[in-house]
Symmetry: C2
Subunit: 303 residues, 2 copies
């Protein structure tokens, strides 16, 4: 078991408006239903000594991905999860074989719990994005796109911690230097946008966006890649994200997380920048509670 | 504007269980989000005199598809709809440009209304399935599959009125004679199964299945093709359909109608028949109210 080479779909509806092809890279169909499987798998693959297993703190996609990748490699994954995490997320980690450890809510309690476990078991910590091997794993997503389509003018990538954006920019530098790699961020969680423009790693604050996968701030390693290799970063409002989310599910018929709606919203709001040129959008994941889905009628505002 | 050549995806998860590739033909990504666009388009395309427009009675996918196809060809589509049809379906017809005419509920009122309109406007009636040109249009879906993959052993197709099943069987006869074309039907709406085995066109009764697109009975033309060209028909229970529906949305991340879940349920319940051999499943449409969606946890029962 290794990460899938996921489908690259061409959307006729978006291509018509774009006056050139719009490609959708379906990481929602990746192992564990998110691109995180790529980074987790690569990070474990690169370990010289993995016999003690791995550890991380993430009740979201990285926790599930690391659990899956560890199982695929025949080792243990220990996942530290706050007591107040939703039961569905905890079930998901267990389903992929992860060993769940509860801690009190908050950063301090989480790090203390991790240290306790590592003191006994000496597991290797695999962080969710600020890690060279994780970034190398995420780069395989854009490499697959460039192996299939040669003339992408803009590659639109959501940015939270910046692992996928860094990996995508590295892949473009190596395999498709003419492609502009564009970071896509909620206005309500715009630390990457601010950091990119100030040249310094800015604090994320307390982001409040429906794109829950993008609430994290950049790390120093990811910011280094983004600063030097990313073409630009654009932000979009919660209303734009909501409309794009509803549109993709109701009209493109793909189940996506709200975070994935961000590059769709950027594609539309900045359409003049790439109209007439081929564009690719990475659909980062599909792990979503559909009971929060906007009604069908609301989805006609997008295009 | 003509019908799309839709994506054919390979599902790694189902392929693993099938011990051979399982392909999914995504008609949920077709124009109007259902395969019906193919038949409607072909039927209008084949008309010698189309200047008076077309007419049909269907508040579902055929009504929307005929509205779209008529607009694409620059003519009017008149759609007779019962007064008690859901507003969302009526909006959908209007969105694609169809002219909506209301009638009282029931077959008699519907046919009377159609005659009234035709008496004034002389529009050509395009029925939803029992029509050679509609069937020819639906056949293009399987032709696309066979043009991409040469060794399909079983093609699983839902059967309601039988237009898509007839077209698929014709395509296999012409382009892939080694493929067994399999009809997939809810046990609660099993007129095709009964007709296939008795050799006579059996009455559909009053089917009560969640697969609302498959409640119709076969027509004489579709039954003729099915009798002579289809390999077999299998039925599945409502519980099997429900589980397959939840599985496809929650795990394969494709938005599908309950009717599309029927061939997935047949694939699983008859797995011994094709395990080790390539299989293709037609995902017929994605027009569904997701507020009825089963919870995520229920979807683990499928595989």
């Amino acid at each position: 078991m290794s990460p899938h080479h996921t489908p690259l779909l061409k959307s006729p509806l978006l291509s018509k408006l774009n006056k050139a092809p719009v490609y959708l890279k379906c990481e929602n169909m990746q192992q564990t239903n998110s691109f995180k499987a790529r980074g987790a798998w690569q990070a474990i693959h690169a370990l010289k000594n993995r016999s003690n297993g791995v550890i991380t703190h993430s009740s979201g996609n990285h926790g599930a991905a690391l659990s899956w990748a560890a199982k695929a490699k025949g080792i243990d994954a220990h996942i530290v999860v706050p007591e107040n995490a939703p039961p569905s997320k905890i079930d998901n980690i267990k389903r992929y074989g992860g060993i769940v450890h509860f801690c009190a809510a908050g950063l301090d309690a989480r790090e203390e719990k991790m240290k306790d476990i590592q003191a006994q078991g000496n597991q290797v910590f695999i962080p969710p994005y600020n890690h060279e091997d994780v970034i190398a794993g995420q780069s395989t997503c854009a490499r697959e796109i460039f192996s299939e389509v040669k003339d992408i003018q803009a590659l639109l990538v959501p940015v939270g911690g910046g692992g996928l954006l860094s990996g995508s920019a590295i892949a473009a530098r190596d395999d498709s230097p003419k492609t502009n790699v564009i970071g896509c961020e909620p206005t309500e969680a715009d630390d990457a946008y601010r950091s990119f423009h100030s040249g310094n790693l800015e604090h994320p604050g307390n982001p409040n966006t429906m794109a829950d996968g993008l609430r994290t701030g950049l790390g120093d390693i990811t910011f280094g890649y983004i600063k030097s290799l990313v073409h630009d970063i654009y932000t979009v409002s919660e209303e734009e994200i909501y409309q794009a989310w509803a549109f993709v599910i109701h009209h493109l018929k793909l189940v996506i997380e709200p975070s994935c709606a961000v590059p769709f919203a950027v594609w539309k709001s900045q359409l003049h920048r790439w109209q007439g040129q081929p564009v690719a959008i990475i659909i980062t994941g599909g792990n979503v509670n559909l009971s929060n889905l906007p009604p069908h009628q609301d989805s006609f505002n997008f295009i």
